[in-house]
């Protein structure tokens, strides 16, 4: 959400750019779709496949795996460093998948010696019929979430197997 009040802003410029762009390509390992929007996978998974960004939508992913590995995730860089004026930080998305799949979301905050992940409570279910999903972290009660961080990412952890997932829209927000 972008507003004139900086305390309410949580920008993700890559998402805006991706929504208005038309692109497609092959996936062979990690992919940076745009600066600030990447697909990252454990190299042991040996991922392949294709992606497409249709008009007005973000991403259609068709992923194959030929190995066993620990993670595959969509990383969205967020333009919010301090949470001192923020009550809730969350996201809304709309998505579909030909075969049902489960996704977990977390807010990753950079620290001096690495990062800390704060997971959103709800699992995200994707199904053939497009579904909306909204979830938010209540900042005051997230004790492990650093109030300030040099960088933050919204990360969506995807299945570690072959799958197709169509992310129609994704909108981070801070309130």
């Amino acid at each position: 959400m972008q507003t004139d009040d900086p305390s309410l802003s949580c920008t993700a410029p890559a998402l805006n750019a991706m929504r208005t762009s038309l692109s497609n390509g092959e996936i062979a390992g990690n992919v940076q779709f745009l600066p600030g929007l990447s697909l990252m996978a454990d190299p042991a998974l040996k991922i392949g496949g294709q992606f497409c960004s249709p008009a007005g939508r973000l991403l259609e992913l068709d992923i194959t795996t030929s190995g066993v590995g620990g993670w595959i995730a969509l990383h969205v860089k967020l333009g919010i460093a301090t949470l001192s004026e923020t009550a809730y930080l969350g996201f809304a998305c709309r998505h579909a998948a030909p075969a049902e799949l489960m996704i977990r979301a977390c807010l990753r905050s950079g620290t001096e010696d690495g990062f800390v992940d704060t997971f959103f409570d709800k699992h995200i279910l994707a199904a053939p019929d497009p579904l909306n999903h909204v979830d938010a972290l209540h900042i005051a009660t997230c004790r492990t979430l650093p109030e300030t961080a040099p960088w933050r990412e919204l990360i969506l952890f995807l299945p570690k197997r072959d799958f197709r997932w169509h992310l129609h829209d994704l909108r981070p927000f801070a309130l």
């Binding site: 038309l22 497409c52 249709p54 008009a55 007005g56 939508r57 259609e60 579909a96 998948a97 030909p98 053939p128 019929d129 497009p130 197709r164 169509h166």
Partner: protein, 331 residues
């Protein structure tokens, strides 16, 4: 992509104004051709332009002084389409902003037609958004129910062909319609069956000429009651057999290429007969029954009917029941 909207209208100026205003708001049409099909009060170009905001040079308004039906009006409109792609519309339906996105996706693509999803207002009774369960099931069976733009494989085409035969859920390459002389039947109701089925018969899915989009790009306003053609129950419904016979003959004439459409087409016709029987003036049912019997004997081979019966016994039994209960005394 330059797209022309072809719209028949009969005593529907308010809906037409609403539609053109939406088209102008979404900036999705290079041109609009309206055929006023004998409206009691002729459609006024001035008021269409004033209310919709459409530039005058984007509108062609034609008129039939007597109503010839939506099929003739659509065919007349098609003759005036000058863009490479076109979309048949009904005056009372509305495009969504997804149509604009779909046009962006289609820009530069080579195809004969692209079928997209729609919202049927009947689903609002259940607070749902999208197509009827019947159509959605067929999209799922075709494996094109998820994806902004998917090429339709030959087997999938036979599933999609069985969906409701709407004219307004397909973006056509104008040359495809003209080259194959595909148009509407010039009858008052069921005029779009021939357009729908001949599109599938003439496109080449094996060459990727049919595309499908899961985008819900149109809102179909369902009117349960009223004077609209869709609610007619009279003898105009009996005219459906001529286009059905032509489609059947076209399939029979080229079984090598089109044989795989025989089963879905006749599964469609049996479902259509069931629907018409329930929506027909009871006094006309014996005549309708005789026409169904004639069509069945002339066009549906017994082995094919047996095959359809095996997969959909309830439907076939229901239709056969109608035939038995309404059989005229002399047959």
């Amino acid at each position: 992509m330059n797209l022309t909207f072809a719209i028949p209208a009969h005593n529907d100026q308010n809906d037409l104004c609403r539609l053109l205003a939406r088209v102008q708001q979404l900036k999705i049409a290079a041109h609009v051709v309206v055929v006023d099909d004998g409206s009691d009060v002729p459609v006024s170009a001035e008021s269409l332009l004033e209310i919709s905001g459409l530039p005058a040079d984007h509108l062609t308004l034609l008129r039939h002084d007597t109503a010839l039906g939506p099929g003739a009006a659509r065919n007349r409109a098609l003759q005036h389409v000058a863009t490479d792609h076109m979309l048949f519309m009904d005056a009372d339906d509305l495009p969504t902003r997804e149509l604009g996105h779909l046009l962006c996706d289609l820009d530069g693509q080579d195809f004969d037609f692209c079928m997209f999803q729609h919202h049927d207002t009947r689903l609002e009774r259940e607070h749902s958004w999208g197509q009827t369960a019947h159509d959605q099931t067929l999209w799922q069976a075709a494996k094109v129910d998820v994806g902004a733009l998917t090429p339709v494989a030959p087997a999938a085409a036979t599933q999609l062909a069985r969906t409701a035969n709407y004219p307004w859920n397909k973006i056509y390459r104008t040359g495809f319609l003209c080259d194959h002389r595909i148009g509407c039947s010039e009858i008052m109701v069921h005029e779009d069956i021939e357009l729908h089925w001949r599109s599938f018969l003439k496109a080449r899915p094996e060459m990727g000429r049919i595309l499908a989009s899961d985008r819900i790009a149109m809102i179909h306003m369902f009117h349960e009651h009223g004077a609209r053609l869709t609610n007619r129950t009279g003898p105009e419904r009996l005219a459906v057999f001529e286009p059905l016979e032509r489609i059947s003959a076209e399939i029979d004439s080229d079984m090598g290429h089109l044989g795989h459409f025989a089963r879905p087409f006749h599964r469609f016709t049996i479902g259509l007969f069931d629907w018409i029987w329930h929506n027909l003036d009871p006094a006309l049912r014996p005549q309708f029954t005789a026409l169904v019997q004639r069509f069945r004997h002339a066009h549906i081979p017994p082995a094919l009917l047996d095959d359809i019966t095996r997969t959909d016994p309830a439907l076939v039994a229901r239709v056969l029941d109608h035939l038995v209960s309404d059989r005229p005394a002399d047959t």
